[in-house]
Amino acid sequence: MIRRKKLLSAVLAVAMTASMAACGSAEEKGGTQAAETQAKQPAAETAAAGEAAEEAAESTEEQISLSIAWWGGQTRHDYTQQLLDLYTQSHPNVTFETSPSGWDGYFDKLATQAAAGAMPDIVQMDYLYIATYANNGSVIDLQPFVDNGTIDASNIDEAVLGTGKIGDSLAGMVLSNSILALTYNPDVLAEAEVETPATDWTWTDYAAAWKQIHEKTGAYGIETNLTDNINVLNYYVRQRGEKLFSDDNKSLGYADDAVFVDYINMITELVDCGAMPNPDEYAQISTLPKESFPVVTGDAGFRNDWNNYAVIAEGTNDKLKLMTPPMADDGTKALWVKPGMFFSVSSTASEAEQQAAAEFINWFVNSEEANAIIMAERGVPVSSEIRSFLADSGKMTPKQVEMFEYVDLAVPVCAEVPAPDPAGISEVTTAFQDAVYNVLYGRKTAEEAAAAFRTTADEILARNN
């Protein structure tokens, strides 16, 4: 029986070693691979791809395979695939490996790939993360391609193009503009006997309308809880004449917590009366596909999103309308035209791949052929030529026309564009949502939550910038 004890200890020892090794493995794997990437930069590629790249430089007929990643709904996945096939038809030497995905998890996956040195060659990038990726060197400077004419930027507004500049580097080619917008379902409003909203409606007017919708129809007044898009807080803060982040990005930009306290109180009131989903209900809504959110199915009156949302949902409900976000009581203009999304090129791509990627991006942004398929689904195109091409084409659906018209509606209430979001923004966004949720769950008062948010956000910003 002594033997049995020994056997047990041996089994235990092996089991423990194995499990502890497993604990650490995810970390360590990332670490080693990243170290390798670093060693091999700038052309961190497999040997085969490297050779292919060298040959490609001599002969343009050499096969190039570009990996490309984007987020979006099913509509976007379908037409993007169509678009890539079309490009391969006219450029038989370029083929694509695609990784389409929803917004949820997209940046988690991208971060993992970047860490492993396996980031896709062309990456759809958001304003939230572009500074992070530019600062850690995982995307290349596209300015040389603009300078040598590979990417034609002549029809793009300087200020808009500049939104992709981080420091001295053009980290992303902006594809579209978008503006914060309320999307509403007119049928729900009619049922609740709520008037059609107008640009001069204030937060108070909207809060009343949202409550009325809930009382009369049982639907949510607004289906978003205004805590997962930090741009909304920025908008709210700007309405008080302040900014969310300081100029050096090392701390919050507003001096008095009162503004955030007001924001939290507004949300709490709406959630308590049921006009806005509580965190649990909202988590459930967030898992739905974009085309079937409550506002589309008539279970909510409003949704806070970007001005391309009505186009995205058009396939399931073609009645949705757009309106500018609530005004400040004193009418301070705070809205801005935000770069909708970017294409960035990975620094792990070989030179030939970078060149091919730049050519593709140029085609995507400037060709009528491509945009006749995209039909502004990614937001209002940045090229003025393409905008007028689409407007004159007569092929646009009513929702697409409305998205374009929304820009005209919104510009009068727009102010200057804020600087790109600082590095560490994803952590700040989490802290922002935590602050509001702490109040919604009754853990903190609004004042405590606002103070805690300041401490946390300042620490994150100071550490990252």
Binding site: L12, M20, C23, G30, G31, D108, N136, E281, A283, Y441
Partner: protein
């Protein structure tokens, strides 16, 4: 002559060991060493690491609230899950420890959750069961209890739903209990019966003491496994609500791959190794007090 033969034997031994040694050094020793080094650096994965001494560790213990939250969640998970799972596994093992027609089918059925339990699919099912608008909310609504929040949507109860999923995966513990139960000599029970012992008394004075080596073995395995919980909190709740299910490994993952703080994440990993090691050593240390090996008895 004999010496050189001995040496030759050693060489053969080392050659036979080589595949394992190479694997151990490349896949375990070097990466571990590197992660230990990174834990003393500010390292974002893509630019060169900056040596910052023990700053990461200082930050963890003095300024990082989420670190403490993750520790709290993980400890609660382990401290509730392990006893609950073992108790449940023992109950089931005793129930299926009978000679009965078709008992093999039951044993197989009870083991199935352990095979599929850790998977993404089951985690998604769990969300559908306990999440907002899920099965349990629909049932309680049908019974006339209307709520706006689900079990998973409340920071105080979300962890319970995840622990429940863990308890449900009792299969492997059940199997070891079952085989241990079969090794308890029937003569012990017979003499107890002759002496008029009640079933309750028999259980605590014969079954449990005879099972202590198995309990000990399960305890060590399950504690180490429990500390490593990741999939459940990542898929079902993504650590939420309000970090109520933020497990330590999930936090480590986020620091490394969402916030690009690989150096800090490595530091977290090493503190974690220390914690698990301390737990294991403590358990071994208490072993003599309560684990009964037949061989020791005289």
């Amino acid at each position: 002559m004999s010496l050189s033969k001995k040496r030759r034997n050693n060489i053969v031994g080392y050659i036979l060991l080589t595949p394992w040694l190479v694997g151990f050094v490349c896949m375990y020793l070097i990466p571990s060493g590197m992660s230990l080094f990174y834990s003393f650096t500010d390292y974002n994965l893509l630019s060169a690491p900056d040596f910052i001494g023990i700053d990461n560790y200082i930050r963890m213990f003095t300024r990082d609230e989420k670190f403490w939250q993750a520790l709290k969640v993980t400890f609660m998970y382990v401290l509730i899950l392990v006893p609950a799972r073992l108790a449940f596994a023992l109950c089931v093992a005793m129930m299926v420890n009978k000679k009965h027609k078709g008992i093999g089918v039951y044993r197989t059925l009870y083991y199935i959750p352990s095979i599929i339990g850790g998977s993404i699919a089951v985690s998604v099912v769990w969300r559908q069961l306990f999440g907002n608008g899920g099965v349990f909310m629909s049932i309680s609504e049908a019974l006339g209890i209307k709520q706006r929040s689900s079990l998973l949507g409340n920071p105080d109860t979300a962890l319970l739903a995840i622990i429940l999923l863990g308890v449900w995966q009792f299969g492997s513990s059940m199997l070891t209990f079952l085989s241990a139960l079969k090794t308890i000599p029937n003569s012990l029970y017979e003499s107890a019966m002759v002496d008029g012992s009640r079933p309750f008394y028999t259980f605590f004075h014969i079954t449990i003491p005879m099972l202590t080596p198995t309990i000990f073995f399960n305890l060590i395995l399950q504690i180490i496994n429990g500390f490593r919980v990741f999939t459940e909190s990542y898929v079902i709740t993504d650590g939420g609500p309000l970090d109520g299910t933020l497990s330590y490994v999930l936090y480590m993952y986020r620091k490394a791959f969402t916030h690009f703080e690989m150096g800090y994440s490595c530091a977290l990993a090493w503190v974690f190794v220390a914690i698990v090691a301390v737990f294991t050593v403590l358990l071994f240390w208490t072993q003599n007090r309560w684990v009964y090996y037949e061989s020791d008895a005289k």
